[in-house]
Every structure is written in structure tokens, then in C-alpha cells.
């Protein structure tokens, strides 16, 4: 507003300057306008999940305004959170995600340390291989993995198919390459003098790793942990292929296969389940957004 005043009052020489800042003010207004439009586009599904989850089946089937809750109720939440089956899904998902995070870190951190700091025969090839592995999608491997598990099951007599714990071995193929890759980047950014100082201070390589590298690269470690957790939590294809019994399912598969039964009016529960399933990553994201984004963008930089 003040720019307009300057425009009128000032000598003609200032017009150029005035028009520039007026341009900027308009650019800002347009930016907000479009940001609001895009925010509506991006937030409609989750908001609609929430709206539907607060409705009773009767209200959903009554076909009133779908964008508004006339008789809010928590009955969907109560029903799901007291259902053994749903809690079982939640428990399976949690245990899988947490154990996969631990396995991922145990594999990734030492490997990234070795690849970032110890030049050995084939280390460059291995680092490239790690990155390429990260680019191999799950939809390429689910069929051979399924058959492999079936063959191993036949050979050893150990039940692998239709057991949630088999996911503990499969998920790391998705998490370890990326986590190793970004940890190589974080470790490589630590100045070489720091390990030399530690070496002179008398630290072994293990002490250098645990007492210098891990604490210094903690932001990277958090980003990698978040990544491993969210990937494990969201994975849909592998559990859909490898598990079928209701007590072995993880959340995404459990919700999509058991709550959809052709009963159209079950949408309240489906949306509640989906929202509860989306909650853990959303909560982590809300509190650790900066680490989340750091992990997201780190993949595009070379380690």
C-alpha cells in the first residue's frame, strides 16, 4: 500500500522503482491465491478421510452433503480401536517397521562408514551398486521373491509364506540401499581431519564410528531412520503377496482387504482405518519435518 503512496508523491524518477515493488506485491497476492488452490487440491483427500471418519453409517448412506458432518461421532474410532483384528494389524505393522529400522541401521551404518572412509578393492563399484539397487522397484522382484520363498519353504520345512516375519528380511532390500547411500553422503561430508584427530587421540575405528561419526552425522541418521520407518510402514505390494491370513497382515493390506467387503456403508470405518494407518508417519513428519525433508533431498546428491 505504501508503495502506491510513494508512486503518487514521488518524482517521476521513482516510478520505475515503485512499479517494481508493485509488481512484487501482485506477485505475492497471486502466489497466495494459487497456493490456496493447490493446498485445497493436496489436502482434500486427507480432510475428506477425517470428515468421513466422523460420520455414522446412517449419515453416509443418507447421502447428505458429503463435505459436512451433521452428527459427528467417534463410534468408528471406538469400534476399530477395540477390534482385535485392527489392533493386530497395527501391532504387526509396528513390530515390522521398528525391527526393519533396526536391521537397516545395523547394515547401513557400518557399510556406509566403510564405503565413505576405507578405500578398498571394489569400494567405488559397491557404492554405485548400492545406488542402483535403490532404483530397483518392488514390482520387479515380488514374483521371483515369492517363488524363492516357496522353494526355500519346501526345502527346509520352515514356514515362510503367509508369515509376517518374512517381511523383516524383505523390507531391508527397499530401505538399506537408500539409507546406506545417504549415510555415505553424510559420513563423507565429515572432514577427514576429524578422524585423524581421533586416530591421534587413540580411538580405534570402532570408537571413531561410535563416538565421532554417529554423533556428528546424527541428523543424517535421523533422516535415514525416518525414511526406513515410513517405507516399511507404507509398503503394500510385498505383504499383499506374501501374507494372506488375517492375523498375519500389516495395516495397509489389512485395511484394504478386510474392511472392503462389498458393504458400501462401511466407508466410515475404512476412512478411520486409513487415517489411523496414516497417523504414525504424519506424526513423525509433523515433529521432524526438517529431517524428513533433508532425507528426501539427500538422495539426489552423490555420497
Amino acid at each position: 500500500m505504501s508503495t502506491v503512496a510513494i508512486d503518487k508523491a514521488g518524482p517521476s524518477r521513482k516510478v520505475k522503482y515503485g512499479s517494481m515493488s508493485r509488481d512484487r506485491a501482485w506477485a505475492l497476492r497471486w502466489s497466495y491465491f494459487f497456493l490456496v488452490l493447490f493446498a485445497i487440491f493436496f489436502l482434500t483427500p486427507p480432510v475428506y478421510m477425517l470428515i468421513t471418519s466422523l460420520k455414522s453409517s446412517a449419515e453416509i448412506s443418507a447421502a447428505t452433503n458429503p463435505w459436512w458432518v451433521f452428527h459427528p461421532t467417534l463410534s468408528n474410532y471406538v469400534e476399530l480401536l477395540t477390534s482385535n483384528q485392527f489392533l493386530r494389524f497395527f501391532w504387526n505393522s509396528s513390530i515390522v517397521a521398528i525391527v526393519v529400522v533396526i536391521i537397516t541401521m545395523l547394515i547401513s551404518i557400518p557399510a556406509a562408514f566403510a564405503l565413505a572412509r576405507m578405500k578398498f578393492w571394489g569400494s567405488a563399484t559397491l557404492a554405485t551398486g548400492v545406488f542402483l539397487t535403490y532404483l530397483i522397484p518392488d514390482s520387479l522382484l515380488f514374483i521371483p521373491l515369492f517363488k524363492m520363498l516357496a522353494v526355500i519353504q519346501d526345502l527346509t520345512g520352515i514356514t515362510l509364506l503367509n508369515r509376517w516375519y518374512v517381511l523383516l528380511f524383505i523390507y531391508p532390500t527397499l530401505t538399506v540401499p537408500f539409507c546406506t547411500w545417504i549415510m555415505i553422503g553424510y559420513f563423507a561430508s565429515i572432514p577427514k581431519e576429524l578422524d585423524e584427530a581421533a586416530l591421534i587421540d587413540g580411538a580405534s575405528w570402532l570408537q571413531t564410528l561410535t563416538r565421532i561419526f554417529i554423533p556428528v552425522a546424527l541428523p543424517g541418521l535421523i533422516a535415514a531412520t525416518i525414511f526406513a520407518f515410513t517405507v516399511s510402514w507404507a509398503q503394500f505390494l510385498y505383504p499383499l503377496v506374501f501374507t494372506t491370513s488375517v492375523d498375519q497382515l500389516v495395516l495397509p493390506v489389512g485395511i484394504t482387504t478386510t474392511l472392503i467387503k462389498g458393504d458400501v456403508f462401511n466407508w466410515g470405518q475404512i476412512m478411520t482405518g486409513a487415517l489411523l494407518g496414516a497417523a504414525p508417519p504424519l506424526i513423525i513428519y509433523a515433529f521432524l519435518m526438517d529431517y524428513y525433508i533433508a532425507g528426501l533431498t539427500a538422495g539426489a546428491t552423490k555420497g
Binding site: A27, S31, Y32, F34, L35, F38, A39, F42, P45, P46, Y48, M49, I60, A63, P66, W67, I107, P110, A111, A114, L115, M118, F120, L126, G129, L132, T133, L135, I136, D138, S139, L140, L141, F142, I143, P144, L145, K147, M148, F169, T173, V176, W205, T230, L240, V241, P252, I255, I270, G277, A278, P281, A286, I293, L296, T297, G299, A300, T301, K302
Partner: protein
């Protein structure tokens, strides 16, 4: 004193060669340590990624009962099926359209976010990234409900404008539109974040210099922003191309490939053929058709990422 030192040196030199041998042992020891540190990683990649990948090729050469080697029989069988060619076409349409729109929307929104004052950027960025954070299987359920044939909230809204009802998932065109829309919705925030990070890395002085040289906003984008971001745009686009091409969750939940298999992608069709219809060799064969395009994209990503690393 110096004499003593020299003498000790001479004595020491005789044992020097032997000691240097032990140093070589120590170096050997170092690479042994490195080997053990990377061993779990190597085992994981070899046993659960490389082996299955080659196993897949082997499986693709067997007959349905997996009792007989049929060579390229599965491939020639696929070439004769109309559904296969439809899947090829739909996979390409889906991946290319979705990636283009994700890239465009991400680029545009990144500029809008970059335009607003720094303090508010965090909040907006946080809001706009939500689709990427929600597990796609969960958010696609919300879309499924939004597209519901009888209760679609979209159709309810459109009815006020005298439009519709649109058979979102029942008609081939709209079903294809819907799966692309959901994929764009899910993936655009990733582009947004990558572009925003890239935009922030362009020094302000470059824009100021361009403004002094008389460039308008469009020229600033064309001559400053795009060249500076070229590498990150390439990496993000290629990466997204791989992920989109190999997409499973969205199509599986939204349409399961229907209506009449017209929205199937390689992944969903391979799942239907290989797992649901228990024709593992044919399923493996279908998913192997993803390899060429994935390999090409991967090679280009690797080149760009290495180049980026060298620049840094």
C-alpha cells in the same frame, strides 16, 4: 646426542624392512575390516536383489506348471495377446503423463512457495508435502471413496454446476484419468520439495545481475533458474519416471486394472497374472518388460548424480 640418534637409526634400519612387512599386514587388516563391515550389505544385495532378479529371468522361461523349459515361449505368447499391448500402451501413457504433470505442478508450486516470505514458507511447505507422507495405500482409499459410483463427493459438488455424474472409475477414459490424477496428487509434492531446495541454492546475485541486465521474469526463469536447476530436474524426473512406471498401489486399489483391464500397468498385471492366476512364469515375464526402461532411466540418473557429485 645426534650421534646416538644416528646409531640407533642404523640399528633400526636393518629391522626396517621386516617391520614394513608388518605394516602391510596392518593395511591388509584394514581392508579385512572394511570387508566385514560391508558384508551384510553385500549379502543383502546379492541374495535378495541380484539373485531374485536373475531368478526372474529363469522363471520367465518355464511353462505355467514350472516343469518345462519353454525358452522364449512366454514372450511370444505375450506378444500375441491384445491385453499385453494395452498394458504397454497404458503404462507409457500413465508414466509419461503423470511425470509431466508432477514436474509441472511441482515446478509452479515451488515458485509460488519461493515467492512468499521466508517465515511462512515452512508452514506452506509442510502443508503441501502431506500427500507424499501418507502411505499411498491409505490415501488411495480416500480417493476411492471420493470416486465412489453412488456417493462420490466430486459428483455431488459437480452436480451444482450441472455437470456429471461422471463415472470416475467405471469408464475407460475417466478411470485412466483418475489413476493419473491420484498419482500426480501423490507425487507432485516430491517434485515441489526437490525444486524448492534447488531454487534456494541459486544465488540471489544471479537474479539481481539478470535483472540489471534487463531480463524479465520469464527470461530470468529461462536463462537463470532452469540452467541452474537442470541437473536436479533431470534427476528428479528420471527417478520419478522409474517409480511411476513401476507403480502398483494406486492402480491396484483404485481400479484393480479395470474396467476391462484398461488401466493395468506392468506391475498390477504381473500381480494378476503371476499371483492371482498362479502363472508365475508369465507374471515374471510381464514384470521383466519393465527392465529396459528402468535401466535406461537408471543409467541417466547415475550419470547426472555423479556429475552433481563432481560439481559439489
Amino acid at each position: 646426542m645426534a650421534d646416538v640418534v644416528v646409531q640407533q637409526g642404523r640399528v633400526a634400519r636393518t629391522s626396517g624392512t621386516r617391520k614394513r612387512g608388518s605394516l602391510r599386514n596392518a593395511l591388509g587388516h584394514k581392508s579385512t575390516v572394511a570387508f566385514f563391515l560391508t558384508l551384510p550389505l553385500i549379502l543383502l544385495i546379492v541374495l535378495l536383489v541380484l539373485y531374485p532378479a536373475f531368478y526372474s529371468v529363469y522363471l520367465a522361461t518355464l511353462n505355467k506348471a514350472m516343469t518345462k523349459f519353454v525358452g522364449l515361449g512366454n514372450f511370444t505368447f505375450l506378444f500375441k495377446r491384445e491385453t499385453f499391448w494395452m498394458v504397454v500402451k497404458q503404462s507409457c501413457i500413465f508414466a509419461i503423463t503423470a511425470v509431466v504433470f508432477k514436474a509441472l505442478i511441482g515446478f509452479i508450486v515451488a515458485h509460488f512457495v519461493h515467492n512468499i516470505p521466508g517465515k511462512k514458507q515452512r508452514k506452506w511447505r509442510g502443508m503441501l508435502l502431506v500427500p507424499w507422507v501418507i502411505p499411498p495405500a491409505m490415501s488411495t482409499l480416500a480417493w476411492l471413496w471420493l470416486f465412489d459410483p453412488s456417493y462420490s463427493a466430486f459428483n455431488y459438488t459437480l452436480s451444482f454446476f450441472g455437470v456429471g455424474p461422471i463415472p470416475w472409475l467405471g469408464d475407460t477414459f475417466w478411470a485412466r484419468f483418475a489413476v493419473i490424477l491420484v498419482n500426480v496428487w501423490y507425487g507432485a509434492p516430491f517434485f515441489l520439495i526437490m525444486y524448492l531446495a534447488a531454487l534456494k541454492s541459486v544465488p540471489d546475485q544471479l537474479y539481481e545481475a539478470a535483472a540489471i541486465d534487463g531480463a524479465n521474469w520469464w527470461q530470468r526463469i529461462w536463462y537463470v533458474t532452469l540452467p541452474m536447476m537442470r541437473n536436479i530436474i533431470a534427476i528428479t524426473t528420471l527417478f520419478s519416471l522409474i517409480v511411476t512406471f513401476a507403480n502398483f498401489d494406486i492402480v491396484r486399489i483404485l481400479t484393480s486394472g479395470g474396467p476391462l483391464d484398461t488401466t493395468h500397468l506392468f506391475a498390477t498385471w504381473a500381480f494378476q497374472v503371476g499371483i492371482q492366476s498362479s502363472d508365475i512364469p508369465l507374471g515374471a515375464c510381464v514384470s521383466l518388460f519393465m527392465v529396459p526402461i528402468l535401466a535406461v532411466a537408471a543409467i541417466f540418473i547415475l550419470r547426472d548424480v555423479t556429475k552433481r557429485g563432481n560439481e559439489a
